[in-house]
């Protein structure tokens, strides 16, 4: 029996159907909802129903049983070469592979990495760095603004190189907006370095995982010992030197969901040198060691409770300063997404899952040897992820292959209700070989769909409680004409 291409949602107040072809959410009666859930289980036939509501929706093009998507191909496929030739917007330089820390979950540690490089003392030399900056210069004609990011290892171990790159690129890019970002563990910030960062307006991202007892569990010096106190001391000094700069520091928080969420979160509420507004939290990445992150029960329910409080605070029903900044930041992104949910429009005959960006265009990663990768998060040892080098330029064919990662699971993707909200990219299909793995990619789909489901359900909730984004969820009466 044909199934409608939909996903159903139920809230305490009402029930909805998400029409995947139309990329729209419609409220439906409980009778229609029951009928549609029977259809998805195969116990009713949508094509022979006598329910007026369903028949009307079908007449208006909703509730089709087939995906309109015939082929999976990214619309930018013919233009990948142009984007890589003319519109690179960010280049991330791996200035060193060395690090003064040995974080326990570090993707570069010898014990756990399966498909990633190991710690090494290799650093980028000036010749390679200069060549990289020149490459960015020649390949960003259509970008009004470019960013150079410094990455490691711990990039501050290569401070002289960073200083040389900043001085050279400032002059080279005169007349074009350029800014700099550095992702650091925050332990090596001397006064000299702080002055340099402040004077050159270099955006600083510091990795901090939570309060001392959590942070120090994983983030330890190579010689042993936690790093929390050193980071806090340095942040305090930076605040003394330039409070305005300190305000803008971004915190990258790697959360281990085996911990209690309240403990992780404590730092965002109780630590005075921690700016609540600039947190970028992510679950520890275990993809390259072939393990799944384990979620403790305490993490899950406390995280959900904080999200609930964050919703209340958005609605002005709970003081924001008593809610986890991590949850508030997540809810803010959700509201942002809610405003733009319909931008991508209905599905088209040739379409593509939502996840991938043009490999190398948004954040081209150049490693110490001058090899290119789509971004800093992918494996440097994986042949499929190598998209060229400073010597050979871009491998455009490879970039096109990675961009069209959806094509390797074409049938699954074209028939997947979450295609518009999919977050999968080539990294999720990388098993360290010459080609991408469909099987490995599909192993992530359940959690991607669950995320999409949770996101859409939260959007419905926001709509039900009558916030300003109400027009994002279509009113049935509007289409009844």
């Amino acid at each position: 029996m044909p199934h409608p291409f939909i996903q159903l949602f139920k809230t305490p107040r009402s029930q909805y159907v998400y029409d995947a072809n139309k990329n729209e959410i419609l409220p439906v009666s409980s009778e229609a909802f029951c009928f549609l859930s029977n259809c998805t289980r195969g116990s009713e036939n949508i094509e022979t129903t006598s329910l007026t509501e369903i028949k009307e929706l079908r007449q208006q093009g909703y509730l089709a049983t087939e995906s309109v998507v015939q082929d999976i191909r990214h619309p930018y496929t013919p233009f990948v070469g142009d984007f890589l030739d003319r519109k690179i917007s960010q280049m991330t330089l791996q200035v060193t592979q060395g690090c003064n820390l040995r974080c326990k979950y570090c993707i570069y540690s010898e014990e756990i990495n399966q498909h990633q490089r190991s710690h090494s003392s290799k650093s980028m030399d000036w010749k390679t760095a200069k060549q990289a900056v020149d490459f960015l210069y020649a390949h960003s004609i259509d970008s009004d603004h470019v960013t150079i990011a410094f990455y490691g290892g711990e990039p501050l171990l290569a401070l002289p190189l960073i200083q040389q790159v900043v001085a050279y690129s400032r002059e080279l890019f005169d007349g074009k907006e350029i800014d700099y970002t550095i992702t650091s563990n925050g332990t090596l910030l001397t006064d000299e370095i702080m002055h340099f960062l402040v004077n050159e307006k270099i955006h600083l991202v510091i990795s901090l995982d939570g309060p001392k007892e959590i942070h120090d569990r994983n983030r330890v010096f190579a010689g042993g010992g936690g790093t929390f106190d050193t980071i806090m001391k340095n942040l305090g000094r930076l605040k003394e030197l330039d409070a305005e700069y300190h305000e803008k520091i971004q915190f990258s928080m790697v959360m281990d969901p085996a911990n209690d969420f309240d403990c992780i979160n404590e730092i965002t509420i109780s630590t005075k040198d921690f700016n609540q507004h600039n947190i970028n939290a992510a679950i520890v990445d275990r993809e390259y060691d072939e393990e799944e992150a384990a979620f403790s029960e305490k993490y899950i329910w406390k995280f959900r409770y904080q999200n609930f409080l964050a919703f209340l605070s958005v609605l002005g029903r709970f003081p924001p300063n008593r809610v986890s900044a991590i949850s508030r930041s997540a809810i803010s992104s959700l509201i942002q997404d809610a405003r733009y949910i319909d931008l991508s429009g209905p599905l088209r005959q040739i379409d593509v899952p939502g996840g991938p960006c043009i490999p190398g265009q948004m954040r081209l990663f150049v490693n110490v040897d001058g090899n290119f990768f789509p971004c800093e998060r992918v494996s440097e040892t994986s042949p499929v992820m190598s998209i060229g080098s400073l010597e050979t330029g871009f491998n455009v064919e490879k970039a096109i292959y990675l961009l069209n990662v959806g094509a390797i699971t074409k049938e699954n993707c074209r028939n997947c209700w979450a295609i518009r909200h999919c977050s999968s990219c080539a990294k999720k299909a990388d098993i360290g070989e010459e080609t991408l793995s469909a099987q490995f990619k599909l192993s992530h789909c359940e959690s991607i769909r669950l995320n999409a489901y949770v996101k859409l359900r939260q959007l419905i909730l926001l709509n039900e409680i009558n916030c300003h984004y109400s027009d994002q969820v279509r009113e049935k009466k509007r289409m009844a004409k």
Partner: protein
């Protein structure tokens, strides 16, 4: 023997100007484009800025000594100079070249440059070597006593506007102007380019200037009076005007100006014909441009007559990231290939003025114009 000229600071909107300027008059010859070093264009042909076929004019950086060599006059776009955040000291550069006996011809939207800021000492010291042209001083553009309020122009008005960006609009206008002039026709042009003043064209940059104190209604009235005066003096058979902003809202994340300035301009000049510059991929959905044309008829009072297919692709990922429409240039053969694929489904005649010139489009305009009058 023509006088050799360089332009500074070279930017995308200057390309059509330098492409057509050398043809349009017998006195000057642009031989060099000087761009900010950060543009990434140094050593390239100027047309590379739009990924167009080469035009034989090299780009150099003002920091290179060769930027001084081979020309006698520098055309300076003061508004672009003002917009730039470059650390390079342009006025030291000007001083150096003036001290070597070279001349500067500067264009700007406003007319108070000499009594203003860093130009003042240069103007005092080298008054003989600096000449200004400003939109506000454009005599034909000033409302005169003969102007009598708002009235429709007595000549057909062709609007050239871009759907998503102003890409190639100036190119279309300049190429059409050249084509009509070859046929002995007089055309008047009103655009958003101050450089056009050097080719006898007119500009509305001072009217749409963010600092201008005119009310929106007055802007429309001044534009109308300005156009009337131009028509009275030049007696053209066609009045071509450039849409000052992209013609429609892109989406909620990047409204792209909503076409507000174009609406205002259309209230002032009531265009009869519209050539719309579109990216090569927009006609993919059949009927899409017909719907747009209906919308333009309601909004601007003019349907699409013909399309110019440009070579820009919208960078969709920048829309949410930056809340603005940014583009990448693709090469002309790819744009042409897409154009050919799409012309079967398209309800409008499609041209590419960059690769095939404007004669075909000019011919079509004459036919439609004849029907109008």
């Amino acid at each position: 023997m023509k006088i050799e000229v360089a332009v500074f600071p070279f930017h995308e909107r200057m390309l059509p100007f330098i492409r057509h300027f050398n043809q349009a008059q017998d006195v000057y010859h642009i031989c060099q484009a000087i761009a900010w070093s950060g543009s990434g264009l140094n050593g390239r042909d100027a047309a590379f800025i739009c990924c167009h076929p080469n035009i034989g004019i090299p780009v150099v950086s003002p920091t290179e000594t060769k930027s001084f060599i081979g020309w006698q006059i520098l055309f300076v776009d003061c508004d672009e100079l003002e917009r730039s955040s470059a650390a390079f000291n342009s006025f030291t550069f000007f001083e150096q070249l003036l001290s070597k006996g070279k001349k500067i011809i500067a264009v700007a939207k406003n007319n108070n440059l000499c009594s203003n800021g860093e130009w003042t000492p240069l103007c005092q010291k080298y008054s003989e070597q600096i000449q200004f042209f400003s939109a506000a001083d454009d005599v034909k553009g000033k409302p005169t006593s003969q102007s009598s309020g708002y009235s429709l122009l007595s000549v057909p008005v062709l609007l050239v506007g871009g759907l998503i960006s102003q890409e190639d609009c100036l190119e279309v206008i300049l190429a059409l102007r050249e084509s009509f002039m070859c046929q002995g026709k007089v055309v008047s042009c009103l655009t958003g380019s101050n450089m056009g003043l050097l080719m006898g064209m007119h500009t509305y940059t001072h009217i749409f200037d963010k600092k201008a104190t005119l009310s929106e209604e007055d802007k429309a009235l001044v534009l109308n009076q300005m156009a009337q005066d131009i028509v009275q003096v030049e007696r053209p058979s066609l009045f071509i005007v450039e849409a000052p902003d992209p013609m429609m809202k892109y989406n909620n994340a990047a409204p792209n100006g909503f076409g507000l300035q174009t609406y205002l301009l259309c209230q002032a000049l009531k265009p009869n014909l519209l050539v719309c510059s579109v990216p090569p991929d927009v006609a993919v959905a059949e009927g899409f441009l017909s719907l747009i044309s209906k919308d333009f008829t309601a909004r601007y009072g003019v349907p699409i007559m013909a399309l110019h297919v440009n070579n820009v692709m919208v960078a969709a990922f920048d829309i949410i990231r930056l809340h603005k429409v940014t583009c990448v240039h693709t090469n002309i053969p790819v744009a042409d290939m897409l154009r050919k694929q799409q012309s079967k489904n398209c309800a409008f005649p499609i041209f590419n003025v960059v690769s095939e010139g404007a004669d075909g489009l000019a011919q079509l305009i004459l036919q439609r114009e004849a029907l109008l009058w």
